[in-house]
Amino acid sequence: MSGRIVIAGASLGGLRAAEQLRAAGWAGMITVVGDEPHMPYNRPPLSKEALAGKAGFDSLAFTPKAGVADVEWRLGTAVTATRLEEGVVVLDTGAELTFDGLVIATGMRPRRLACPGPRDGRHTVRTLDDAQALRAELMRAGARLVVIGGGFIGCEVAATAVGLGAAEVTVVDPLPLPMAGPLGELLGDALLRRHTDRGVRFLLGRGVDGFQGDARAEAVVLDDGTVLAADVIVEAVGSVANTEWLDGNGLDLTDGVLTDDRLRVGGLPHVVAVGDVARHPNARYDAVARRVEHWSMPTETAKHAAKALVAQLAGAVPLPGPFAPLPTFWSDQHDFRLQSFGLPVLGRDDVRVLEGTPDGDFVAGYHRDGGLVGVVALGGAPAAVAASRYRAQLLGQPVLASHGAPR
């Protein structure tokens, strides 16, 4: 097999795709294009250990496997367009690269609030550069932090800031509980109490109308008229898929890029997508295609997609079976950890305490049609171990046979 595979995106998904293409036997050229200047690095510590100064920013780089030593890395370069049928990607330098196979791994970027007020002084947490800039500001004595968004990133940043000794830490969210969107009310309520006990203030059920300040945002204005003075502002209001460069190819780009159950894109044999930009069905659950922003997904999708891509380029049959991972994620906040297995969001309306009680360490089970679809542990390491004992049950569900086009 010769020719070139281009991987668009040089974060974890891009790195794992390169490694797994080699593992699947691709001996041709591999070119990885990424807009950040850095080699792939680990993002979860950016809101936790690295922001807290417990891990150096220079310790976050992944160690690529020996098999990818000959991969060409074009860093600090964005892909701006592609002509998939023709096998061409266009770079921001104006140069064009031809490809025989393409891996879409361009990930997400933080969503930004569009409300009025200065942009300067408002942080997001996605990249190494973002986290370094935020840490510099949080380290100023007496800093008052306002975090907009009570999801995972927002709550992790709030917890880290408390640990760093910030004078005031306030989380604002239009929803009535933190993290309740993916986890439901039982967990949202338990998390709210834990954060409040540890010094985080929550202003819930309130949105943001704008920002005050001259050159720089120095206060957040809420929709009930409250004005929150802030030395540091973090926007953690979700993310947007980096798919604009795929426009004009007839793809479904409504939320990330739609794939089939082998992670192939647009019915094309030579284009696959990996990581959180991929909206894919999971045969373990149903035919609904979802984007999953867990850390485990780039590695899982890359392994599957690389096999499918190399098999197709080699004209080999059969292809690997449908993609059916058991999702997992964690979140470290203050002195506790959330550990999830399965897809709790599917069972958000039927949550039962399986072990412990919600005022201490506990394990919650999420059910759909009476069956267990996810478990979440909240607390210390023994709770996480207890949750992991349900993995066999979660893995025991039959994987559906191949579907047609995902809904």
């Binding site: 680990n42 979860p44 485990s296 550990q339 390491a381 023994p382 171990v385 992991s388």
Partner: protein, 62 residues
């Protein structure tokens, strides 16, 4: 093959145990133990374990 876990990085996530149960294990308190010289036949699962470690604390030599 030699397996080295940087225990100063390890935070007991246990993902390695799911990927390579013949090599890694957790005690009831959630602390990691592992075989440092597993048989070469286990290479694929050890590599998987190294990939899925959230702290990237697992190194494979030889």
């Amino acid at each position: 093959m030699r397996v080295i876990v940087d225990m100063s990085k390890c935070q007991d996530h246990g993902q390695c145990v799911f990927a390579a149960p013949d090599v890694f294990r957790m005690d009831a308190n959630g602390r990691l133990g592992y075989v440092s010289d597993p048989h070469d036949a286990l290479r694929e699962e050890v590599e998987e374990a190294a990939d899925v470690c959230p702290l990237q604390a697992i190194r494979i030599e030889g």
